[in-house]
């Protein structure tokens, strides 16, 4: 029965060159800052070798960066490891994990259209949620998003 400390020790020693910071928040939550270049290496290791389940990725617009958190759950020890990367807000690019692992496909498409992140090597970079008539380049989840639709009615209507 593998223990939490053993898993974390193995993980930190294996990737010590790529880990910038580690926050051991509680028994079930660990947040790790890593370099963007190492995401494929570390993500694939957690998914394939450790057998963690990929939960989802959450991206936020935090000027001057865009932050992406990849959440993995190691079910046997109930440990949620979140990998944090910071990208440059002017040109947010990172390598795609979807080309090897299906589970990343849809969320990378969603992050790319809602926040404008480019996932290099994504097999299917089409729109997922936004309508066809939504203009290109306008990312609704960015902090500087402004209403572009002149016909929108934001009154209560009564």
């Amino acid at each position: 029965m593998i223990r939490r400390e053993e898993v974390l020790l193995d993980f930190t020693s294996r990737f010590h060159a790529d880990i910038l910071d580690l926050e051991d928040k509680s028994n079930t939550r660990v947040y790790v800052n890593i370099t963007p270049e190492s995401i494929v290496k570390i993500g694939t290791y957690l998914f394939r070798n450790v057998g963690a389940r990929f939960n989802i990725a959450t991206a936020s617009d935090l000027p001057p960066n865009i932050e992406i958190l990849y959440h993995f759950l190691i079910e046997d020890i109930n440990l949620l490891i979140s990998l944090r990367v910071f990208l440059d807000r002017e040109k947010p690019e990172i390598e795609s994990l979807a080309k090897d692992i299906e589970a990343f496909n849809w969320i990378e498409r969603e992050m790319s259209e809602l926040l404008g992140i480019t996932f290099i090597g994504h097999p299917d970079p089409r729109r997922l949620l936004l309508a066809d008539n939504w203009p290109e380049g306008i990312c609704p989840l960015r902090q500087d998003y402004e209403e572009w639709d002149q016909t929108a009615d934001r009154t209560r209507g009564v």
Partner: protein, 141 residues
């Protein structure tokens, strides 16, 4: 109101349409067909094709993608057709008023005859709304 419509309302065929809803209103509408409420005894029937519809039941907060399809479908409906807006979202978008993907409420796109508010409206409320619709048109049950 036209004689044809009054005649149709003796046994209205309803077509249900969702324009981006959480589905609660849709389930409560389907609930009306189940044995406890059983709206079929009033002759109301849920049809699968819009070309057979007399009454359109619309729910949902009109998001951008659904609105295009809904406009196309509304063209195909044989007029006269009555539109019922079920739920608060169909009435005025409710809490989704400020959403970037829900620009205008339903009654700015197609004409609405009856509003049934609620989130979701109970099946009793939907039946009451249906009765009001029939009375509005001047028919009787």
């Amino acid at each position: 109101m036209s004689l044809k419509l009054k005649a149709l309302l003796k046994s209205p065929w309803v077509f249900h349409l969702s324009t981006g809803s959480c589905n609660n209103c849709d389930i409560e509408t389907l609930d009306c067909l189940t044995p406890r409420f059983d709206i079929e005894r009033f002759g109301m029937l849920l049809v699968g094709s819009i070309k057979h519809a007399d009454v359109l039941l619309v729910s949902g907060s009109c998001n951008r993608m659904s609105v295009e399809r809904m406009k196309e479908l509304f063209e195909q409906v044989p007029k006269p057709c009555l539109v019922v807006a079920i739920g608060t979202c169909a009435g005025s978008r409710g809490i989704f008023k400020d959403s970037y993907n829900c620009p205008v409420p339903l009654d700015k796109i197609i004409p609405v005859d009856v509003y049934i508010p609620g989130c979701p409206p109970k099946p009793e409320a939907i039946i009451a709304g249906a009765v009001k619709l029939i009375e509005k048109v001047g028919g009787t049950l």
